[in-house]
Amino acid sequence: MVPGRSVHTGAVPPSLVARGIHQRFGDRVVLDGVGLEVPPGRVVGLLGPNGAGKTTLMRILFGVLTPDTGAVEWDGRPATDDDRRSWGYMPQERGLYRDMPVLEQLVWIARLHGLSTADGRARATRLLEQLGLADRAEDKVQDLSGGMAQRVQLAAAMVHEPPLLVLDEPFAGLDPVAVAFLSDVIGEHVAAGRNLLFSSHQLDLVEDLCEDITLIDRGRVVLSGNLAQLRAASEERYLRVSVQVEDDWVDPALATVRSRSAAGSRLRLAPGTDPGAVLDLVRAHGRVDDFGVEAPSLSELFLDAAGHPVDEPNASDDGAEVDAGRAP
């Protein structure tokens, strides 16, 4: 084993594959035959409501938990402890030593990954510059704002330049600027041909970021694949109009109102319906300044696949409590 590196045998960059993962905590089935693929160079989203089993799956990928059955493969063979420890992991709940200076903490983590102090310091310094934290390198983590601490957490996951980066709910609680910032970092990571998996329950927020998705609900995969292809392949079409549409404006046989917001309404078109005819019905009741015919959004794909909205309350919180977990 070369320190700090996962040995990769093939000419093609390695993929992470999980197959048939079952995990039960006591009487509760948390994962029921879940599979997942994370090819290199693509942003893969593991998406679903709270309690779907996302965090448990990520802990299993990292060997923090051992599944009842199922396998995790890296580069076409079962993932080893050494493989796993070459990856980078940012857990949902942030974990840093609060009373340790930022740079020192990152160098220490780099050293745990097998880097020399000099290499660790160089990489950590570069990351802090990239993340806009160069001037806070000597501050203790407890003296940083929540957003800054989150960036340090990301740096901790990336300081050893991992081939695979796994981020559990990285966007939770971030402001739009921070979301854009994190999206850039994710984009750079995959642009270098490396692997990336992140989880989120905020489907609308990550809609534009995901290339591949695995939608998971109550421990089962309900939809997975390339997002653009999944949307194109869907027979569902939606008419977006910039006006608040009342239920009785349009014949339900032609279209139904799916959602309303300050920006307008979104109508689900019945199969074979002419969008122009529905638009005419809406225009008869009010002025339409903007409209469009669109493929389903991520939330709508989830609703169609799972049979309930993603924000509908689910069984229990995911991952926050592991009742009978087992480490390897």
Binding site: P3, D81, R111, E321
Partner: protein
């Protein structure tokens, strides 16, 4: 990917570095250093002032006794009991009695026939004994002179060599003192470190740092590194306390009997005891995730430790201690004390040490399992039984 040992070393080094940053560590070390230095230096400084000093009033009255000669005998005999005496004259017995009652003098001697010694009840026994002897000696001298002996002949008779005193079992008291000190030091140190380890593990679990670290290193280095790091911190404290003792020995000073052997021999059990208790404290700390729960989770271990401490400190050579010397949880405190009082046999030491080593190995395995299973199960306080059964 770093090796097991390198990861353990890095975790331990981090603990040390963080400890070195805390003001509490330095304050404790300085207090220990100064306290120990004072304990080494003060007895020697105060030793010269050890002699008692007495005030004695003499009422000459109309006695025939020769006053100058008597005073000289009193000074000599009081000197023999390591004390000095200041003699004064009182005009009569009533005045002398009042001086004693007013504590102007300690004792008064009225030279009647026979002489009377005035003293407040229950005080100055040694001085009274010395004065009685002085009066008897002076009476003897006067009698011998009256019988016709010359002054030189009297001197020759009285300067016969005094009886030598052979003290038996002199080391016992100091050895027991050494046993007490050792047990106390081991008890305090292990107790403090145990809470520190459980605390550290619980806080890391609560802050979810352990989840980040478990994705990088195996559970073993996280637990063992913390135990080693904090144990080294404890030993540095111990070294701060021991430094003045070492300096005193190097400068040729004397140590209490038994302390040297007990420290040298006891170091083995000390290290084994720290390993045993801290490993278990680390595993117990993983069951909780709040600082306030960490000290309560080690309470059962604390009780065992307290019992072992009392056994070691109070009755190191008792039959109960002889049994406890073989029990790994109690031997760290009982064994050094038994060595100090000279109650431990060679066989006992070897068997006890071997049993402790086995216990540490078993504890490391069990603690590793409990830690690794419990550290990722957050939310509520766990029980050891649940963790081992899962």
């Amino acid at each position: 990917m770093t090796s097991w040992w390198e990861a353990t070393r890095l975790v331990a080094a981090r603990e040390l570095r963080q400890a070195a940053r805390s003001k509490g560590l330095w304050a404790t070390a300085i207090v220990l250093l100064l306290g120990s230095a004072a304990a080494m230096v003060l007895p020697d400084l105060l030793a010269d002032d050890d002699r008692d000093r007495y005030d004695v009033a003499i009422v000459a009255g109309d006695a025939t006794i020769e006053l100058d000669a008597l005073e000289s005998v009193i000074v000599q005999i009081v000197d023999a009991i390591d004390a000095d005496v200041e003699l004064s004259q009182a005009p009569d017995v009533d005045a002398a009695r009042q001086q004693v009652l007013d504590e102007d003098v300690d004792v008064a001697v009225a030279l009647d026939e026979p002489p009377v010694i005035l003293v407040r009840a229950g005080t100055f026994d040694r001085l009274v004994g010395a004065l009685r002897q002085a009066l008897a000696t002076q009476a003897l001298i006067d009698g011998l002179v009256d019988a016709g002996l010359s002054a030189d002949e009297v001197d020759a008779l009285l300067s016969a060599p005094p009886a030598e005193v052979e003290e038996l079992d002199t080391e016992r008291e100091s050895r027991q003192g050494a046993a007490f000190v050792l047990s106390l030091v081991a008890y305090v140190l292990i107790m403090l470190l145990m809470v520190a380890v459980a605390n550290g593990v619980a806080v890391e679990k609560g802050n979810r740092i352990s989840e980040v670290l478990l994705a990088i290193v195996r559970p073993g280095p996280l637990l063992f590194g913390k135990v080693i790091g904090l144990a080294v911190v404890g030993c540095l404290h111990l070294a701060a306390g021991a430094l003045p003792v070492v300096v005193k020995v190097l400068l040729g000073g004397n140590l209490p009997e038994g302390l040297g052997q007990a420290v040298a021999g006891g170091a083995v059990w000390f290290a084994l005891g720290i390993a045993l208790y801290l490993l278990l404290a680390g595993a117990l700390g993983a069951l909780v995730e709040r600082q306030e729960e960490a000290s309560s989770v080690v309470t059962p271990l604390s009780f065992v430790l307290i019992a072992a401490y009392f056994a070691g400190a109070t009755s190191a050579d008792s039959p109960v201690a002889a049994v406890l010397a073989y029990v790994p949880f109690t031997s760290p405190m009982v064994m050094p004390s038994r060595i100090a009082v000279g109650a431990a046999s060679g066989v006992e030491m070897v068997v006890s040490a071997l049993l402790s080593v086995v216990a540490v190995v078993v504890a490391a395995r069990v603690a590793g399992i409990v830690y690794r299973r419990a550290i990722v199960r957050t939310g509520r306080r766990l029980k050891v039984r649940d963790v081992l059964g899962s």
